[in-house]
């Protein structure tokens, strides 16, 4: 099969959706003629013109609020933040308006808005360009939160997001954006709330998110040489979260480690652990473990940056520790 980057994969999904649905438009800084800071809209300006590829001033609260109004009145905005960090300037619009609009209007209004941006730590981007923040949004009722780990998922999930009538946050890790992977031709969708089993195994269950999936698979590869068999689950969407797949796996393995670059307190791992304890307590042969990035703002210097992100060796050690329990 042909290989595409994440960026090329979502661009394909966006292009075909825009060709079919004239109500879709994209806003953001540099997403017009320039094609996006991360090349997320390359070529679309020439095809669809400046009204559907709308370059904005640096007015995050302004254009997010504007897109809420647009989504309530018959169009489908896609907001491209380049760095996801910049969404925080629009937090009030998101939490008080966008997330609640369908509920407040007792379902008569829809909120088909797609908000995308690059997340994650790497390349000394420092603390204003390294945030992920998805647990915050997953905490709130009303958002769909997508964090893909391979280009083929990115394409299918992006296509689903473009058809969704709910607000969707689509978050891609910066270090993955230009990674290549096999991507099917043509249009397809992947439903939200359906995890992908990235590797099957019997000794322990690993839930890994975003950029942690590849690192976790690398750790499992090494352990496999010693006959240790790990199962790796990529939830793909944090909200909704596919707990059935996790519970079925823990039922088989009895052991669970959650690997996530974002902060541990009140995070995705905490939620998964609580649900497994609640619904799968008798399946557990060991305490549930979490491995996260350090609970600090992201430092600039490479020596500090390296120290806060879980790497394959650290994941491997955490798996060994879990198996020794």
């Amino acid at each position: 099969m042909r290989e595409l980057t994440f960026v090329e994969a979502t661009l394909e999904a966006l292009d075909s959706a825009m060709a079919r649905d004239p109500s879709i438009f994209v806003v953001g800084e540099g997403i017009g003629e320039r094609g996006g800071n991360f090349n997320t809209t390359v070529g679309l300006y020439d095809k669809y013109g400046p009204e559907r590829l709308c370059d904005t001033p640096i007015s995050e609260r302004g254009f997010v609020g504007m897109c809420a109004g647009a989504a309530m009145t018959g169009t489908r905005p896609v907001v491209d933040f380049m760095f996801f960090d910049f969404i925080l300037d629009a937090f009030g619009e998101l939490v008080n308006q966008i997330a609640k609009m369908q509920y407040m209007s007792s379902g008569r209004l829809k909120m088909p808005i797609l908000l995308r941006g690059a997340i994650g730590i790497g390349h000394s981007a420092a603390t204003h360009h390294s945030g992920s923040y998805y647990p915050i949004f997953a905490h709130l009722p009303g958002f769909r939160v997508v964090v893909p780990s391979v280009p083929s998922d990115a394409k299918g999930l992006f296509a689903t997001a473009l058809q969704s009538d709910d607000p969707v946050l689509f978050l891609e890790h910066k270090s993955l954006l230009f990674n290549r992977g096999e991507v099917p031709e043509g249009e397809y969708t992947i439903p939200f709330g359906q995890a992908r089993v990235a590797r099957e195994g019997t000794d322990c269950t690993l839930v890994a998110i975003g950029s942690m999936v590849d690192k976790t698979l690398a750790a499992c590869e090494r352990l496999a040489e010693e006959g240790i068999s790990c199962e790796v689950i990529d939830p793909r969407t944090i909200a909704p979260l596919d707990m059935e797949t996790v519970l079925a796996s823990v039922h088989k393995t009895g052991r669970l480690l959650i690997v996530d670059e974002t902060f541990q307190p009140c995070g995705v791992g905490a939620e998964i652990s609580a649900q497994v304890i609640d619904r799968g307590f008798d399946d557990l042969d060991a305490p549930i473990r979490r491995l996260n990035g350090a609970h600090v703002p992201t430092p600039y210097s490479p020596t500090l940056e390296e120290a806060i992100v879980p790497e394959a060796a650290e994941i491997e050690q955490s798996i060994r520790d879990l198996l020794a329990e």
């Binding site: 800084e29 320039r34 640096i58 000394s124 420092a126 603390t127 600090v296 600039y300 500090l304």
Partner: protein, 321 residues
């Protein structure tokens, strides 16, 4: 008109910024700078002309393009270059990099990776100083891009209604990354927006250090005297790419770039000093040589500085009292 000695100090300050930026650009190409690097080349007259009036206890709040502000406010090239190299001797001990340069000891309250907050924080400094009955002032430097952000509207209005001792210095270099200000602003003038907020405002040639210096002098005096804030629009241009390593084509013409290079603030000021016999060529050459050596020394210092220790990474999330 500043005294002779001050005139030369302006020249020296602009050179410190220029040579440091050129060094950083070379270091970036060599891979010594791991993160982003937005240079201030072409805009040196603004930070120099404004900061000439500031004391170490005045508070400067800056942007992503903030090396010049830090240097003009008194952070040494050694600490700036070391910070961009990610070393523990940098002004933020390697935690920040280009977009998080801090040295509160000299009133450098931070460069920023987010466009906008500097305007509000300088307003807040003005509030503090008013409350404390001090004659200190707050200064925000920001680009034309920030003018379209809600922070501009809210900050200027707050400073105006409470007559805060704050300077709002807009560095209008005509583009926000690749987006022309003429496209993104319904009113393409910044300097005439002051009256909309009930505030003094002025537009100056941002490539003329003496013009900036004069306008800033009046604004600083107004602020220290309790007469409220001023908005200063400085018309300027960045002659390098938005950030090092980024493409710099397709959105502006080579002719436009060349025309602005011909208005280079340092070359112009050099000519002015000679023409008005404020300094001879030997004096200026000596300053150039001294600054060159200082920046070379700073680079060497940075390159030989230690990396931050990984086990310090969790320090300073909270106060350590």
């Amino acid at each position: 008109m500043p005294e002779s000695e001050q005139l030369l100090a302006l020249y020296r300050e602009m050179l410190i910024i220029r040579y440091t930026e050129e060094q950083l650009a070379r270091s970036h190409q060599m891979g010594l700078i791991h993160g982003a690097c937005h240079t201030y080349v072409g805009e040196e007259a603004i930070a120099t002309g404004v900061c000439a009036h500031l004391r170490p206890d005045d508070a400067v709040f800056s942007t992503h393009r903030g090396h010049g502000h830090a240097l003009a406010k008194g952070v040494s090239p050694h600490e700036v270059i070391a910070e961009l190299f990610g070393r523990s001797t940098g002004c933020s001990e390697g935690r920040g990099g280009s977009m998080h340069l801090f040295k509160p000891e000299v009133g450098m309250m931070g460069t920023s990776g987010i466009v906008g907050p500097c305007i509000l924080q300088a307003t807040g400094a003005g509030y503090s100083f008013k409350l404390l009955k001090s004659d200190q002032i707050g200064v925000a430097f920001f680009g034309d891009g920030a003018v379209n952000n809600g922070a501009f509207h809210e900050g200027l209005n707050l400073a105006s209604i409470w007559k805060l001792p704050t300077l709002f210095v807009c560095e209008n270099n005509m583009y926000a990354t690749e987006v022309p200000f003429a496209y993104s602003a319904g009113n393409p003038h910044v300097g005439n927006r002051g009256p909309a907020y009930g505030m003094e405002s002025v537009t100056v040639d941002g490539n003329d250090v003496l013009a900036v210096c004069e306008a800033a002098g009046e604004a600083v005096q107004r602020a220290r005297g309790g007469e409220g804030p001023t908005l200063i629009e400085c018309r300027t241009y960045r002659t390098r790419a938005h950030a090092e390593g980024m493409r710099d084509a397709g959105y502006r013409t080579p002719e436009e770039v060349e025309a602005w290079k011909a208005r280079d603030p340092i070359t112009r000021y050099n000519g002015w000093l000679l023409e008005n016999e404020e300094a001879g060529p030997e004096t200026l050459a000596a300053i150039e040589a001294e600054v060159k050596e200082m920046v070379a020394d700073a680079e060497e210092f940075a390159r030989n500085s230690p990396w931050p220790e990984a086990d310090t990474v969790s320090e300073h999330v909270f106060s350590q009292r």
